[in-house]
Subunit: 125 residues, 2 copies
């Protein structure tokens, strides 16, 4: 039961948030650094309120933090839920892995044993 990673992450909203291509694009953009709402909206053809709703979905999933800075709202990605989703998928990784992958997986398991923190990589607040 070491694997009690990030107690507060509900995978449902996380996967749901990632189900929409615009929201995935927003995550991709934020992976490159913080951005304002306007900057996040710019690549897409939908209205600003639509973007605002997408941001709310990401925020509710814990993927996003928004901090007002003057009249701009700066958005920052929180990767912890991504890590949780990754962790869930990792449980079944053996299903699609070939023998070469197993080597890397073994090394990864070793790494986990070494670091031994259950709440871990999700930066605690």
């Amino acid at each position: 039961m070491v694997n009690r990673a990030k107690a507060s992450v509900d995978l449902g909203p996380v996967f749901a948030a990632l189900a929409h291509p615009i929201r995935r694009a927003i995550v991709e953009q934020l992976a490159g650094g913080d951005a304002t709402v306007g900057e996040l909206a710019e690549p897409h053809k939908v209205s600003l309120p639509a973007i605002s709703k997408h941001l709310r979905v990401l925020e509710d999933a814990g993927l996003l933090q928004v901090e007002p800075e003057g009249r701009v709202h700066r958005c920052q990605l929180d990767a912890a839920p991504l890590s949780a989703a990754f962790g869930w998928l990792t449980r079944y990784r053996v299903l699609w892995e070939d023998r070469f992958d197993r080597l890397a997986r073994h090394l990864e398991e070793t790494r986990k044993t070494e670091t031994r923190e259950e709440t871990t990589h999700a930066r605690k607040k």
Copy 2:
């Protein structure tokens, strides 16, 4: 060679399929081996038609193959879309990794270069 399984995996339906806890439970169960519809329905308190719909969602996402065997329908997990979802998340893995993880990641990248399988990993681009 090649593109058996998932010439193109659309991640939208895959993430959407994984967004529901019953469907995640079904994936988990199928990871332990094939099962009939009835066996998949048994752990859950919803009606059989509800399970049938969940299975359809998983099937449409490419996660599931159903093969009638007599009067039972045998369900088999197809992990390729899981691999694709994993691959997408992996692109941002650096965001939550610490230095120990980077080692494993480096090894994984190396592995990818060594094995020429664009068939099993949706490495777009």
